[in-house]
């Protein structure tokens, strides 16, 4: 019952939020009071006030994002309603008036990198960064709509809806069927890969079509890839995940079924929305278009893979061979997802080179403060680093002039 409520509540919220702007404000207020660890008031109050007073300002909107994502990204055991922050962020973006997509995207990217950098340096496990992806995709969609690229907007919307569905389903799924959490991973037949692929192609479709987006589009694509990679490290590691109610064979069967059916159902249910934004009726299943001529034919790949695998396993040789083969497919892998937690919960140690740099830098800084003549650091080790810095400079110049 609780699981059904957790799906029904966000669904009802989406329906209301998509239609009315003031509802978002009420929802935000209620949500902030209910959340486990809310954003500190000295930031939340001015941000909320600014976003109400200046609805058209991009900076005010950006100030709202830390408020939205604070519970999910800061606390160790995750937010109470992780999907809600993503839904609220998307609806805020949807209702925002005239925002500057490039500034918004830069803010989101800076936020992602800030959170990641903090986690890497302080040795903490990153929170669920996947929640940021819907906001990034929504920004892409607004940019595509601003430029009049209806096909591109439809592609982003497909990725956005699929991603939101996965996020909303994630928490109840962890309670009921923890195996299904791997649907979010960016490995090919899984829906998480569809989100990644569509996101990359939508960002680059924008880059190819619009003048100022060349460099930014590539970086957005890399950002989406980075967030997918962080998903690999964090998905399925929520403390309150239950035990597996079905056997290993059943688990593999359920994953396969969900992989094939979820995109089908999501695109089918939301096809009116896709039609509203993209201008044509589509139900992409057999061949997902990337908007730029590329097509992803996942079902064909899955069918071929299954055919070759069945031939190699020769399941017809033994009685109930298919079931046994399913059970042996991930033997010791689906169960060990819990054990692997230990690997990534350890504080990520910095490599010795970087530590030496930091300590050396600290010493040099102290020497400079005392106005002593510092020794030059050993510069030979920095050859590659120097080239990287020069490369970044050239890229920045290219990006600014394009």
């Amino acid at each position: 019952m609780a699981g059904r409520g957790r799906i029904a509540l966000p669904a009802a919220l989406v329906a209301i939020l998509a239609t009315s702007g003031p509802a978002i404000a009420v929802a935000l207020g209620v949500w902030i009071t209910q959340e486990r660890r809310a954003c500190p008031l000295w930031w939340a109050l001015p941000a909320l006030l600014c976003s109400v007073l200046l609805p058209d300002s991009t900076v005010a909107l950006l100030a709202l994002f830390p408020v939205l994502y604070w519970p999910a990204l800061s606390s160790r055991d995750g937010a109470l309603f992780p999907a809600l922050s993503a839904i609220l962020a998307v609806s805020v973006l949807w209702h925002a008036g005239a925002i500057n997509p490039i500034v918004c995207m830069a803010g989101l990217g800076a936020m992602t990198l800030l959170v990641l950098g903090r986690c890497a340096l302080w040795g903490e496990r990153p929170g669920d960064l996947g929640l940021l992806r819907p906001a990034i995709l929504a920004t892409l969609m607004i940019a595509a709509q601003d430029e009049g690229l209806t096909t591109g907007a439809r592609i982003v919307l497909e990725a956005l809806l699929l991603d939101l569905t996965l996020l909303v389903l994630y928490v109840p799924v962890l309670r009921l069927l923890p195996v299904l959490a791997i649907l979010r991973l960016p490995f090919p037949p899984l829906p998480g890969f569809i989100v990644l692929w569509l996101g990359i192609h939508a960002a680059l479709g924008l880059a190819a079509g619009v003048q100022g987006w060349s460099v930014i589009g590539v970086f957005v694509a890399l950002l989406i890839g980075l967030i997918s990679l962080v998903d690999v490290l964090t998905v399925g590691r929520r403390p309150d995940s239950g035990a597996l109610p079905v056997g290993p064979a059943g688990a593999v069967g359920i994953i396969a079924l969900a992989t094939m059916l979820l995109p089908l159902i999501v695109f089918g249910v939301f096809s009116p929305v896709l039609h509203h934004v993209g201008g044509e009726w589509v139900w992409p299943f057999w061949s997902l278009g990337g908007g730029d001529g590329a097509h992803l034919r996942l079902p064909a790949i899955v069918l071929l893979l299954v055919a070759i695998w069945l031939w190699l396993v020769k399941s017809w040789r033994v009685e109930r061979g298919l079931e046994k083969a399913f059970a042996g497919l991930f033997s010791g892998r689906l169960q060990t997802t819990q054990d692997e937690t230990g690997l990534f919960e350890e504080p990520a140690a910095l490599p010795w080179v970087v530590r030496r740099l930091i300590v050396g830098g600290r010493g040099r800084f102290r020497a400079m403060m005392a106005l002593k003549v510092g020794k030059m650091p050993e510069t030979r080790r920095m050859a590659v680093g120097l080239w990287l810095v020069l490369l970044a400079l050239v890229l920045a110049i290219l990006g600014l002039t394009s």
Binding site: F187, L222, L305, W309
Partner: protein
């Protein structure tokens, strides 16, 4: 109509068989070439060919362990899908670099009992470079459908920036994720007691390596893949080009190993950045 379909299917089958024949040769080169260059005496590839023959006989007759079968299925699928001689294969429309690349990397993770900590540090940068590759293809050659579409497009209208960028991407992939070698396999097969199972896993690793090398070769030199309607002479040129570019990639991998440049994160980042720069420069030059 029927003839055309038959020809494409025949070509896909031929490509699979040819690349599988090349697998044991590639394994020999990866293993023995560094020693040969060092001046040691090495034996010919007869042992590897013999082992591969035994392996395929077992595969045809006996069922495989399901996990190993999945890795082998992924490698075989990649060999069938990737453009090899010409773009006229039956499954060419499935050859998406991101899709095939991540499939192969997942196969790499699933082979044996890999330590996620070590392997993750190689695979995660490689996934990012694959994302970059897909992004650069979409940026510099919009309208290209996968690797096959890219080859066809490059034949009609060369994009020098993109070709250089793809070469740099392939180099970054080769640096961050070199093919699995004997010492890697020793670590992975630690807990496995059964000798036959260990040998099977080694052979599957060789097929996986072969698929990875072909992917790198296709990414590095997409222009050398022949076109669908190139005729008989074009087909033979494509065959020679396939052998040449696979040999080139193997030589580069061996050189990277000899100079101890592989598995360096900073070099991976540098070449990924070079790729981005080349693609953007090519885009702004036109």
């Amino acid at each position: 109509m029927m003839t055309a379909v038959f020809l494409t299917v025949a070509q896909t089958l031929f490509q699979c068989v040819l690349l599988l024949l090349l697998t044991s040769l590639m394994a020999w080169m990866l293993e023995e070439l560094p020693r040969l260059i060092n001046g040691e005496a090495v034996s010919g590839p007869a042992r590897q060919v013999h082992n591969a023959g035994l392996f395929w006989r077992t595969v045809f007759r006996q069922p495989l362990a399901p996990g190993l079968a999945l890795v082998l299925a992924v490698s075989l699928l990649s060999l069938a899908v990737l453009p090899a001689v010409t773009t006229g294969g039956a499954l060419i429309s499935l050859a998406n670099p991101l899709l095939v690349g991540i499939l192969l990397l997942v196969g790499r993770l699933m082979l044996g009992r890999s330590s996620l900590r070590d392997e993750g540090r190689r695979v995660l940068p490689a996934v990012l470079v694959l994302c970059l590759t897909e992004a650069l293809i979409a940026l510099a050659a919009p309208g290209a459908d996968g690797l096959g579409g890219l080859c066809a497009m490059l034949h009609i209208e060369p994009v020098p920036g993109l070709e250089g960028a793809l070469g740099a991407c392939a180099l970054a992939l080769a640096i961050s994720c070199p093919p699995l070698r004997d010492d890697d396999m020793l670590l992975r097969l630690e807990g496995m007691k059964d000798r036959a199972a260990r040998d099977m896993a080694r052979q599957v690793a060789q097929v996986l390596n072969c698929a990875w090398i072909v992917l790198l070769a296709d990414l590095a030199l997409p222009i050398s893949v022949g076109l669908r309607d190139a005729g008989l002479s074009g087909w033979f040129v494509g065959l020679a080009a396939l052998l040449a570019r696979v040999l080139l990639v193997v030589m580069v991998l061996v050189a990277l190993r000899l100079t101890a440049q592989e598995r360096s994160e900073r070099l991976t980042a540098l070449f990924a950045g070079v790729a981005l720069l080349l693609a953007l420069a090519g885009r702004f030059a036109t």
